[in-house]
Amino acid sequence: MRYTAPTSVAEVAALLGTDPEARVFAGATDLVPQMRAGRPEPGLAVDLKKIVRLMDVSLDGGTWRIGAAAPTADLTANAALSADLPGLVHAAGLIGSDQIQNRASLGGNLCNASPAADSVPALVVNDARAVVAGPAGERTVPVLDIPTGPGRTSLEPGEFVVEFLIDRPPARTSDAYLRLIPRTEMDIAVVGAAARLSLDSDGNCAAVAIALGAVAPTVVLVPAASEVLIGGPIDDASLAAVARAAGDAANPIDDKRGTVTYRRQVAGVLAKRAVTEAAGRAGNGGGQ
């Protein structure tokens, strides 16, 4: 294996365009365990952490720019980001230990393409876009369109994620992410559920997005949640309908972490609780 640490997006694009053995990494929190498990090491490991744009977390007008390689500890330590996107920041902060948080990144979490990635449902409900660079320049894609299956993405050869763009939430809008694991720390989601909700001036639901993790090959949306929630109150009846819709949208597998039946039920429970939590935050003013 060779190692290089370029300082610009253009240098990375050039390396990936000329060396088919090149592979980008940020924290290597997935790459190293995969190498240890016997996957071939990259011929050229391209370290993204020396590129300022990939490490930066900043507010650009009404849009958050989160560098794809920024360690998640930089997100949880950012008070303004946490106030705007508490669900996303919570999800990022659930990934691994303090040691891992100082290396793991949202770009890695997305591109490793684990169905159980904690930050992905929270990115999706917030309509996050990924800026992708490659041989043909840069393009902006919805995060939802990037994972295509376990370990697989829609990125073309030579492409990599540079940063995420997330618009600041409007007033009376907020998000939440919940996951189930059998312990309190250091585990992989059995089910994850993110919700983002806007309330109108009467406290009724004006807009909602729910996304589930670890219950399908990729993150899944719960479009039926809009039908049961929008225009009405967040109450026991509408939340029960949300739980049913989330259970129906889930398409899980049986594995050592949970059965299909269990995951469907937990998806419903977590979706309901995530909506409740997001609604509580939105009712307290939400983002701005």
């Binding site: 190692y3 640490a5 929190t29 190293v32 490991a45 370290d47 230990s97 303090d98 720390e185």
Partner: protein, 164 residues
């Protein structure tokens, strides 16, 4: 293949070593620098036995490619004591019998130091969460947690005595 030259600062001293590009910083510290404090437990970032501070951030050195350390400032467990004077964390681990086999101990000391540096008066819950990335198969954790809390109290007391 030619080896990579790395210049960095380790425990306050300028250091240089040669490494393979795919070598972990943990292996470089142990095999090139002969600093045997950091241990390899899992090699995949789960157990924390290889915890170090790189540029002030707590990290698993098994997940760091050694060339990443070029230009960095590194603190290992060997850099925690002040000469022959043990750090209060180390003293409290000894007094509290917070170790048995000792393999996890360097990682716990470094991780606990990182915690107390940013939060000098943590609650028990905060200590448990902060050390969730460090595994111990001997002690059952209770003595470790109590020793960290005792060290926090001792550091606070010593600071107050110095400040009068």
């Amino acid at each position: 293949m030619s080896r990579t030259h790395v210049s960095c600062n380790i425990n306050g001293d300028d250091a240089e070593f040669l490494c393979d590009a795919g070598e972990s910083l943990l292996d470089a510290l142990r095999d090139e620098m002969r600093l045997m404090g950091a241990k390899e437990g899992c090699g995949t970032g789960d157990c924390g036995a290889c915890s170090i501070l790189m540029d002030g951030r707590l990290q698993c050195s098994c997940l760091i490619f050694a060339p990443e350390a070029d230009g960095a400032t590194i603190v290992t467990v060997e850099g925690i004591a002040a000469g022959d004077d043990l750090h209060p964390l180390q003293q409290c681990f000894l007094e509290g019998a917070a170790l048995q086999c000792g393999v996890c101990t360097p990682g716990f000391i470094v991780a606990a130091k990182a915690l107390l540096d940013r939060n000098p008066d943590p609650t028990e819950t905060e200590v448990r969460y902060a050390l969730a990335g460090n595994l111990c198969r001997c002690t059952g954790y209770d003595k470790i947690i109590r020793s960290v809390l005792a060290a926090a109290a001792r550091i606070t007391r010593e600071t107050e005595e110095v400040l009068g």
